[in-house]
């Protein structure tokens, strides 16, 4: 069992996550876009388009325009998620000394790392709770939700809370052990999981998230870009040259008009009136 949880599960979960997301995205990208779905107004040049997509990715610009309150929670959640992931990477690798890289003293870096981790973790939990509250108490959104919508939020909330819980005295796993374990995974030489129940719970929940991610609506992190790219495509320019690559097989099948091209009457009328 320990071998399974410590060695098989992390590799399995990560492969499913990566493979699943790639499979779904490539599945979308393989399907043709038979007609330009440009959603105007769209910038003409490439830089404008890149700026537009980045402002959507980094700032959720559209949501800000539409619903400021929802935007606060959504943006805060995604930002804190991003921050927490980076915090994990640096904090574990440098054993909380990462801020020494920007000129802090080691003891300052330790405090700052603990403090920032706590703040972002709390913000993440708060924003998830706010989103959950909205899903339950906003009648429209409640009716739009299916069980998995709640499950997504609860799973993320559980991961966040187990993460924060590790701050509690007595539950704190040794960072050295965690780093040694992660290093073992990365070097394909896994060692047993650190002996901290709360860490194991946190770790198992993250594995579950990775396993579940590609099959769920959470895949919107990738699908979002696929949609946005369709919407900023340049509209066609006329005349369309004959050598341009057909957009799909629908374009290729030919159609012949059923009524004659010319009619004698109308030509005669023209002749008379000119």
């Amino acid at each position: 069992m320990e071998f399974f949880m410590g060695s098989v599960l992390p590799y399995g979960a990560f492969s499913v996550f990566l493979g699943g997301v790639l499979f779904r995205v490539s599945g979308w990208l393989r399907t043709p876009v038979p007609f330009q779905l440009t959603l105007f107004s769209v910038p003409r040049n490439r830089i404008g388009k890149i700026c537009l997509i980045f402002s959507e990715v980094l700032l959720c610009r559209t949501l800000f325009r539409q619903d400021k309150l929802l935007w606060v929670w959504v943006w805060l959640f995604h930002l804190s998620l991003f921050m927490v992931i980076f915090g994990h990477l640096f904090g574990i690798f440098y054993l909380r000394d990462q801020f020494c890289l920007v000129g802090f003293r080691p003891e300052q870096s330790q405090v700052l790392s603990v403090f920032l981790g706590g703040i972002w973790g709390t913000l993440m939990a708060l924003s998830l709770l706010a989103l959950l509250y909205r899903r339950i108490f906003n009648l429209e959104v409640r009716r739009l939700s299916s069980p998995d919508s709640y499950f997504d939020l609860l799973l993320l909330l559980a991961i966040t809370l187990t993460g924060i819980f590790m701050y509690a005295p007595g539950f704190h796993p040794e960072l050295h052990d965690v780093r040694a374990y992660m290093a073992g995974l990365l070097l394909f030489d896994p060692i047993p999981l650190p002996r901290s129940p709360i860490f194991v719970a946190h770790f198992l929940l993250v594995s579950l998230l990775l396993l579940y991610f590609p099959f769920s609506r959470l895949v919107h992190l990738a699908g979002f870009l696929v949609i946005r790219l369709m919407l900023v495509e340049a509209p066609p320019e006329y005349p369309i040259p004959g050598h341009k690559r057909p957009r799909s097989i629908f374009t290729i099948s030919k159609f012949q008009p059923e009524i004659p091209l010319f009619s004698k009457n109308s030509v005669k009328r023209e002749g008379r009136s000119v």
Binding site: D67, S149, V226
Partner: protein, 457 residues
């Protein structure tokens, strides 16, 4: 909410290339069509699979705001299709079933599709406000396509499609009637201006083929007459075509095969008169169909394609216009604002033609639909259309007193008079943007251009 939509009879369907599907095969056929459609276009699967149900679209949709029906929230409307799609074509739906929001296919769901896909104007406003850019209009059009391949088509659409396929225009006007009304309009123009302004039909070796909305021959004839005046003034070599007297393409709104066939006529009609440029008249979805769908439907297109409002906006410096002393506003048809990016041209023209131009809020690509788009112009849907147009009526009311609302789209032109009458603003006149140019154009200026071909691209 039940809608009083009349469906076409089975015997009328083969004439528009649709076969009737037996009642017992409906469900299995639906799944097969859904499978074909998802292989046909990327938009369907990616838009259905990524919606998180955040509800941001609810406040953006005039249909939900006007009717208050939950299933008119774009996410819920798309959800009617999503539950089937997820159940049969995604891993999560096959494994988790109802937990992932999946539902089994049953006959009843098709009735729901008809009900709610035909309360959507496919105006794409939800796509502008969705954080992911999910375009419920695309999902609705996919749903309507599947329904029509199952033999479930509103009789209004089926009639128009039959007219488009046989006569080349929505109203089914045949050539003698076209010639007749053009002669009549020429006489009207002679009376009005004292000039011999021609409305040529099928004139060979012409540079420009003009595709008006067929309603301009009878109902909105001011638009066609104004266009003829402008062309005469500029000395353009133009003609109408009796084989395609229509900018609209109803196929876009319910069946892609019909869309393709009708769209193919543009090329055929332009070749027939030897045109170099195809000029589209004031029609919202027609302009989107021509500009955005021609390449995908029929491939290479060896002609230039331009909208009449773009052409007139380019030629404004050459036109001698006197500003009309009226207070007017411009309604941005959805298919111009969001569908094909035509918002600046009409404004330029309006500013040159009227003394007081006021803007609606919101406008341009965030404008509300009038409730007449997406092919919902059938008589039996009038009551629902009035509800769909509630937001538009509010927008107009906040601008009163108004003399004129410019609506450069044939569907809007049919909806607006009913809408403003329904909401008690019957004194406001509506009409096209070109109509205004016709009224404010001083034809004496045309002498400047007599005998020379203006070098327009």
């Amino acid at each position: 909410m039940k809608i009083p939509l009349r469906l076409a009879k089975n015997k009328d369907l083969p004439s528009i290339g649709i076969n009737h599907v037996a009642e017992t095969n409906l469900c299995s056929q639906t799944l097969q069509l859904l499978d074909e459609y998802r292989a046909f276009t990327r938009s369907l699967s990616v838009m259905l699979e990524n919606c998180t149900g955040c509800g941001a679209c609810a406040k953006a949709c005039h249909s939900y705001l006007g009717t208050g029906d939950f299933f008119n929230i774009p996410a819920a409307r798309a959800g009617l299709l999503r539950r089937i799609f997820v159940r049969y074509f995604t891993w999560s739906g096959r494994i988790f079933g109802g937990f992932a929001g999946a539902g089994e296919i049953e006959r009843g769901i098709l009735d729901r599709w008809v009900e709610y896909f035909y309360q959507c104007n496919a105006c794409r406003r939800c796509a502008v406000f969705c954080p992911f850019g999910i375009d419920t209009g695309e999902v609705v059009l996919a749903g309507r396509n599947i329904l029509s391949r199952l033999g479930i088509v509103p009789s209004f659409m089926a009639d128009i499609a039959r007219n488009e396929l046989t006569s080349g225009n929505n109203t089914g006007i045949l050539e003698p009637a076209i010639l007749d009304s053009c002669s009549f309009l020429e006489e009207e123009l002679l009376e009005e201006t004292g000039l011999q302004i021609k409305i040529p039909v099928d004139k060979p070796h012409t540079r420009i083929l003009y595709l008006p909305s067929s309603s301009e021959l009878f109902v909105n004839s001011d638009t066609l007459m104004a266009a003829a005046k402008v062309f005469h003034y500029l000395g353009l070599d133009w003609t109408l075509s009796s084989m395609l007297l229509e900018a609209a393409n109803y196929g876009l709104l319910f069946d892609r095969e019909v869309m393709k066939k009708h769209n193919g006529r543009i090329r055929a009609a332009a070749s027939a008169v030897g045109a170099k440029k195809v000029l589209m008249g004031e029609c919202g979805h027609g302009w989107r169909a021509a500009r955005m769908y021609t390449e995908g439907a029929n491939g290479p297109f060896p002609f230039q394609l331009q909208h009449i409002l773009e052409l007139v906006a380019e030629c404004l410096p050459e036109l001698r216009l006197t500003k009309l002393p009226i207070r007017a506003t411009l309604h941005d048809p959805c298919n111009y604002g969001r569908g094909a990016g035509l918002v600046d041209g009409p404004r330029k023209i309006m500013r040159a033609c009227v003394a007081d131009l006021v803007e609606m809020t919101p406008n341009r690509d965030r404008n509300f639909c009038c409730g007449g788009g997406g092919g919902l112009l059938m008589d039996e849907m009038k009551q629902i259309r009035m509800q769909l147009g509630e937001k538009k009526a509010e927008q107009i009311r906040s601008l009163l007193p108004l003399d004129y609302i410019a609506v450069p789209c044939a569907s809007c032109k049919a909806q607006f008079p009913l809408l403003i009458k329904h909401y008690g603003m019957g004194e406001v006149r509506t009409g096209g943007v070109i109509d205004l140019v016709g009224k404010s154009l001083d034809m004496r200026g045309s002498a400047v251009f007599a005998g020379r071909e203006p070098n327009l691209t």
